[in-house]
Symmetry: C2
DNA sequence: TTGGTTACCTGATCTGGATCAAGTCGCCGC
DNA sequence: GCGGCGACTTGATCCAGATCAGGTAACCAA
C-alpha cells in the first residue's frame, strides 16, 4: 500500500498540521466521494471491511501519465487522493476534447460502465495518487450496501446534470465565470480555500474544456482582472469578487 | 390500467399487424430500456413479479402537458410507451434550453436522482403514454436484482457519454448530421424505420437542442436536401445518403 | 552564453452562425 | 371567402469569438 504524500503546493493542501502518512487516511476519506461509505457512517461493519479490502492505493503517477486509456476494458473507477486528473477524448481528426478535471476526493471513470470500455483517456496533470475500486466487486457490494448503490447512482446523476450545463450556449464570460465558481465550490467542498485556486491545467486545457480558443481564455481572464473580479498570477487565481462571478455564472450553474 | 392505443402516424408505428390492446405489452416491453428485466430474461421469478407490480401505466398525456416539472421532488422515472417527450430547463433569463428527446422505450428522469429533485421539465411533444417506476421501490429492487442495478447504472453512464458528445464544439453541419444519424439509430433500435424519420418536435426545438438558431437549422436542412443527403417534407425526413451523413457525424458520434 | 521549447499574452483580421427583417404556407375560426 | 396566427423559410447584415501573427518570459540543455 502506498502512503499518502502530498506533493501539492501549500495552498492546495488542506489546512491541517499533520497530513503525512496514514494518519491522514481518515481525514482524506472524510472528503472523498465515497467518504461516508469508507468511514462507515452507520453501515454494516461486515460489508464495510469488504469495501476497505476492495480499495487499492496506487503508486504515484507523474504528470502526463495515463490512469486509463480510451478503449481499454472498464474494470475500475478511481478516486483521486492527491493531485489533479483530466479526462479527454481524441476525435477522428486527432483533435483533443477535454471532458473534465478531477480534484482530490472526486471519482473518475464512471462513464466507462455503459460500453464496458472507457470512452476517454484519464491523464494525470501533476503527481497523482489514487484509490482504485474494482468495479465488479463494487457493484456486488452495492447490492449488499444500498448506501453504496445510492452513492453510485447519485454521482452518475450529478455527472449527467453537469454535462448538460456545459453543453448550453453561453458566452465566453459566462463559461469562464462558471468554471471558476464551480472550481471554487469544489475546492471548498474538499476543505481547500474557495478563493485561492491553483489551476493545475494549462490555459489551452481550460480553453478546450470550455470550447473556447486559448486566446479567448487569456483575454477574458485579463478583462476579469481589469474589472477587479479576480487576480491572476500565472496559474494561481484569486477570486476577489466571488459574488459578481457567481452572478455572471448564474445561468450556467442554475443556482 | 390504461391500454396502449397508438395515436402515432403510421410510419411511427412498429410494423406489426396487431398492435392494439395488451397483446402488445410484450412486444412493447421487448424494445423498452427495461425490457430485459420486464420480460424476465432469466431472472428471479419472485422479484420479477414485484417489478411488474411496481410499474404503473399512466393515462395518455396531450402535447404540451408536463410529465414532471423542474424542482418537483424526484420520486419516479418514466419509460415512454408511445409518443415523444422532450426535457428542458428554463434559465434565469427565462430562456429555454432543450436537453433531450425521448422515443418510445427510452427512460426519462434519471437525472433527478442527484439532488432528489428533477433538474428539468419533461414535456409531451404529442400524445404520450408512459410506464411509471417509483424510484424508491426500484432502488430496493435493484439491490435484489443485480441485473436491474446494472441496467440503471448503464443507462446513466450512457447519458453521461451522450451529454459529453453534445457539448463538443462542432459545426452546424456536424451537429445536424449527428442529430439525424442518432435519431435514425434510436428509431432502428426500437424497431422503426431507420431512414424515414418523423420529427415530432418543431424546428426551434431542434435548433435549441443543438444550440443553433432556428434559421440555421432551416438552412442546413435545405443544403442537405440540395446535396441529396436527405429529403425533407415538413416534419418528415427521409435519409437518402445515410453513409455520407454518418461520415459528417463521425466526430460527434465517435463511431 | 546561446538556442530551443513551452506556455502565455496581445493585437489585427476573418468568419460561421446569430440576428434582423421580410417573406410564404397551411390551418383554424368565423 | 377572409383574417389571423404559428411554423417555417430565405435573404441581408452583424458580431463574438476563432484564427493568424507576432510578440515575451521562464526554463532547460549544450
Amino acid at each position: 500500500m502506498v502512503h499518502f504524500v502530498s506533493l501539492q503546493p501549500s495552498f492546495l493542501r488542506r489546512p491541517s498540521p499533520d497530513d503525512q502518512g496514514d494518519g491522514d487516511a481518515l481525514r482524506f476519506c472524510s472528503t472523498c466521494a465515497f467518504g461516508r461509505a469508507c468511514l462507515g457512517d452507520g453501515y454494516d461493519k461486515r460489508a464495510l471491511e469488504d469495501l476497505h479490502c476492495l480499495v487499492e492505493h496506487t503508486s504515484p503517477m507523474h504528470a502526463g501519465e495515463e490512469v486509463f486509456r480510451c478503449g481499454q476494458p472498464f474494470n475500475a473507477i478511481y478516486a483521486v487522493r492527491a493531485g489533479m486528473v483530466k479526462t479527454r477524448r481524441i476525435d477522428e481528426q486527432g483533435r483533443e476534447q477535454v471532458l473534465g478535471f478531477f480534484l482530490p476526493g472526486e471519482l473518475v471513470g464512471l462513464n466507462g460502465l455503459y460500453s464496458s470500455r472507457y470512452p476517454c483517456d484519464a491523464v494525470a496533470l501533476d503527481t497523482v495518487t489514487l484509490c482504485r475500486f474494482a468495479f465488479s466487486a463494487l457493484s456486488v457490494m452495492a447490492t449488499r450496501l444500498p448506501a453504496i448503490q445510492q452513492t453510485l447512482l447519485q454521482l452518475m446523476s450529478k455527472d449527467i446534470v453537469n454535462a448538460a450545463l456545459l453543453a448550453g450556449d453561453y458566452s465566453a464570460d459566462e463559461r469562464l465565470a462558471a468554471f471558476l465558481v464551480n472550481l471554487s465550490d469544489r475546492f471548498a467542498e474538499r476543505g481547500y480555500s474557495p478563493t485561492r485556486l491553483y489551476l493545475m491545467m494549462s490555459r489551452s486545457d481550460i480553453a478546450n474544456y470550455l470550447r473556447l480558443a486559448p486566446e479567448t481564455v487569456s483575454r477574458v481572464l485579463r478583462r476579469f482582472q481589469d474589472e477587479a473580479l479576480i487576480a491572476v498570477e500565472k496559474r494561481e487565481v484569486t477570486l476577489i469578487a466571488l459574488e459578481r462571478l457567481q452572478h455572471l455564472a448564474r445561468c450556467v450553474l442554475q443556482s
